[in-house]
Subunit: 357 residues, 2 copies
C-alpha cells in the first residue's frame, strides 16, 4: 500500500525577492540562503523521503531548471521531473502532476508541497502529514495544512476553520488581507496561515478539476492519451500555453465544499523575505546575521550579510542593513527597505537588461 503515496514538489518559482542572491538562473529553491548546508529543495525532498519512496516523487519545475533539480535530487530519474514550458501558477502545475499520477496509479494518494519553505520540527510535521494522508485515504477530501499565525502578516493567505476538530472543515479562504483584517484574524483565533501544502487522493483532485476548472481538466487530461514521453511533452506544452494562470486556492479550494485543514505548529516559515532570513539565521552578539568566516564587522548591529564563499567582507558602521554581494551585483539597503528590491530589479533591468536579473 505504501506505493500509493506520492509527493509532488512544486519548484517552478523564479524568486526575485532574494535578488541579487536568487536569480532567474538560480531561484531560491536551489539556494541555501540560511546556510544550513543544503538547498531548500533538498530539505524539502529529505523531509518527505521518510513518508514516500524516492520513485514516488514528482517535481514540477520550469524547463530551464530541470538539470538543477536533477543535480539537487540525484535520487530522481529524469522522467520524475515534469517540465512547465511557462509558469501558470499552482493549478496547472498540480493538474499536470495529478494526471501524470492518475496514469501511473489510479489509486495514488498525493502530497503537494512548495519547494522553498523551512520547517524546523520535521518530526512533528510528519506526524501531521501522516494524519492528513490517513484522513484523505478514508475520505473524499482535499486537505491543506494550516499554520498557527504568529503575527498579522498581510502577505499570506488565511484559512478559517469551522470547528475545533483536529482536522476541521474549512469555512473560508482569505487571500492577503489588509493589516486591520489580519489583526482581527489573529485575535479571533479561527484563522490559520495557508502553508500551500495539500494532501488528497488523485481521484479527488481530478474530480475537483472536472467540476471547478473544466478547461484545465480538458487540457491536462490529454496527458492520459500520450503514448511516448515526447507526445506527453507536446501535450503539456500545449496545455500550459493555452490554459489560464490560476492558483489552486482560487480555482478549486475556495469553491469546493470538501476542503479540510489540519492546523499545526512545527516551526514553519516560507522564508519569503530577507527579514525572514534574518529572523531564522544565527546571530552574533550584536544581532548580526553574518557568515561565520571571512566577515569582519565593526560598530555594526542587527544586519544581515551575504557574500560569496571565500570573499572577505569588512562592514563598519551599519545598523539594520541588508548587504548582499554576488559575483556581478552588490546590494546594500536598510532592512526596512527590503520591499524596494522589486524597484531595484526594475531599474537594473531597464538600464542593463536581463543579464544581472
Amino acid at each position: 500500500m505504501e506505493n500509493n503515496k506520492y509527493c509532488v514538489i512544486m519548484a517552478g518559482g523564479i524568486g526575485t525577492r532574494f535578488w541579487p542572491k536568487s536569480r532567474q538562473s538560480m531561484p531560491k529553491q536551489f539556494l541555501d540562503i540560511l546556510g544550513t548546508g543544503k538547498s531548500f529543495i533538498r530539505h524539502t525532498y529529505e523531509r518527505f523521503e521518510k513518508l514516500v519512496p524516492p520513485e514516488n516523487f514528482l517535481v514540477v519545475t520550469n524547463i530551464k531548471y530541470k538539470q538543477l533539480v536533477l543535480e539537487h535530487l540525484p535520487e530522481l530519474k529524469e522522467e520524475q521531473i515534469l517540465c512547465e514550458p511557462i509558469g501558470r501558477n499552482t493549478a496547472p502545475c498540480i493538474a499536470y502532476a495529478a494526471y501524470t499520477l492518475l496514469k501511473k496509479n489510479p489509486d495514488a494518494e498525493m502530497i503537494v508541497t512548495p519547494s522553498d519553505h523551512m520547517i524546523l520540527n520535521e518530526d512533528d510535521f510528519r506526524v501531521i502529514i501522516r494524519e492528513c494522508m490517513e484522513f484523505a485515504a478514508g475520505h473524499d477530501a482535499m486537505l491543506t495544512v494550516g499554520i498557527k499565525p504568529t503575527r498579522p502578516e498581510t502577505g499570506y493567505g488565511y484559512i478559517q476553520v469551522s470547528d475545533n476538530q483536529i482536522i476541521s472543515k474549512v469555512k473560508c479562504f482569505t487571500e492577503k488581507p489588509n493589516l486591520e483584517l489580519a489583526q482581527t484574524f489573529i485575535q479571533c483565533g479561527e484563522f490559520f496561515w495557508n502553508s500551500g501544502i495539500f494532501i488528497w487522493k488523485v481521484n479527488t483532485i481530478i474530480e475537483a478539476f472536472k467540476k471547478y476548472l473544466p478547461d484545465h481538466h480538458q487540457l491536462f487530461s490529454a496527458v492520459l492519451k500520450a503514448q511516448t514521453p515526447e507526445e506527453e511533452r507536446n501535450i503539456a506544452e500545449t496545455a500550459f500555453s493555452e490554459c489560464r494562470a490560476i492558483s489552486i486556492d482560487y480555482g478549486i479550494m475556495e469553491k469546493a465544499d470538501n476542503v479540510y485543514v489540519r492546523c499545526g505548529e512545527f516551526g514553519w516559515s516560507d522564508v519569503g523575505t530577507w527579514g525572514s532570513v534574518y529572523q531564522h539565521s544565527r546571530k552574533d552578539r550584536y544581532a548580526n546575521a553574518i557568515p561565520q568566516e571571512g566577515c569582519y564587522v565593526y560598530d555594526t548591529r542587527s544586519s544581515i550579510v551575504s557574500v560569496p564563499k571565500d570573499k572577505i567582507a569588512i562592514i563598519s558602521g551599519l545598523k539594520e542593513y541588508i548587504v548582499v554581494d554576488t559575483d556581478d551585483v552588490l546590494m546594500i539597503c536598510p532592512r526596512s527597505e527590503e520591499q524596494s528590491i522589486k524597484k531595484f530589479i526594475d531599474e537594473v533591468k531597464y538600464h542593463n537588461g536581463d543579464k544581472h536579473i
Copy 2:
C-alpha cells in the same frame, strides 16, 4: 643639451591605504582610482614626457612590479627600470638612480618624482619644473617643489622658506606636525607642503650623499664599477640589503645648506586617502562619487563607491560612506573611519593570511 635632463620616477610603494582596491600585487601607482582612464604612473610619465625624452627616464620600483611598470610605460626599455629587492625609503632609491645616472652621463640633471600623485594644472607645473631645472643647472643647489597649503594637514612634511624669492632658500623642514603646529604653519604663511619632487644636478646630490650619508654613498657608488647588468643587479641587491632605510628629506635635505624650494599652486594632491579621492572625484547631485554606469543609489549622499567594471551596485540609505568592492574583498565603512583601514588589514591578515592583502 636636452639630453642632460633625466626624470627618475619613484614607484616602489606598496600603498595599503587604498586597500582593498590597492593590493601588494597592484599598488596605487598602477591604479586609476580617480577614473581618469590612466594609472597614476602613466599620468606621471606623460607629465614629464614634455620635459624629458623617453630614453632619459628611470623608474625605481620593487622587483615584483617591474613587469607592471613596463606594461604601463611601454615606451621604456627594460634597462630603464631599476629594481629594489626591498623598499628602503627614498634615500637608497635616489642613491641607486643617481649613481646609475652618473655612470651614464656625469652632466646629468635630475628630476625625482613620486609616481602616485595628481596634478591638475600640468602646464603651470611644467613652467615651475623648467624654472627649477634652469636654477639647478646654474647652481650647486638641491631644489624641492613646495605646495601652498590649503588646510592644516598633519600627514605631510612642511618646508619653511627663508625669503620671498620665487626660488627661496629653505629655512627648515618639519615632518608631520601636530594639528596645533600645522595650524600655526598655515597662519604664518612661510610654510609649504613638501611635494617630494626634487630637482638637482646628479653631481650635486652625489656630493650630498658623500657628505651626509657616506654609508649609502659607499654602498651605491659600487654601481659605477659594475661591468654587466648582472653585476649591477648584484651590487644593488647587496646595497639595499645592507643600507639603512632613511628618507631623502631626513637623510640629506634637512641637513644640507644648499637646499631651495620653488613654491607653487598647480592643483596638486597626493591622493593619499579615500577622502582625497572623494574630494577629487566627480559627484552626482547628492554629492556621491559613484561609477558613471551600473551604480544605482537611493537615499544616499556624500558617499564614494568603487566596484569592479561591469558589476552592478545598488546602494540605499548610506550617508558619508566608503564602499569598495573587489573580486575578493568588500569593504563598507563610514568616511570618517577611513583611518581604520590599517586595522581592517591587520585583522584580515591575522585571520586569513596575505591572500587578500
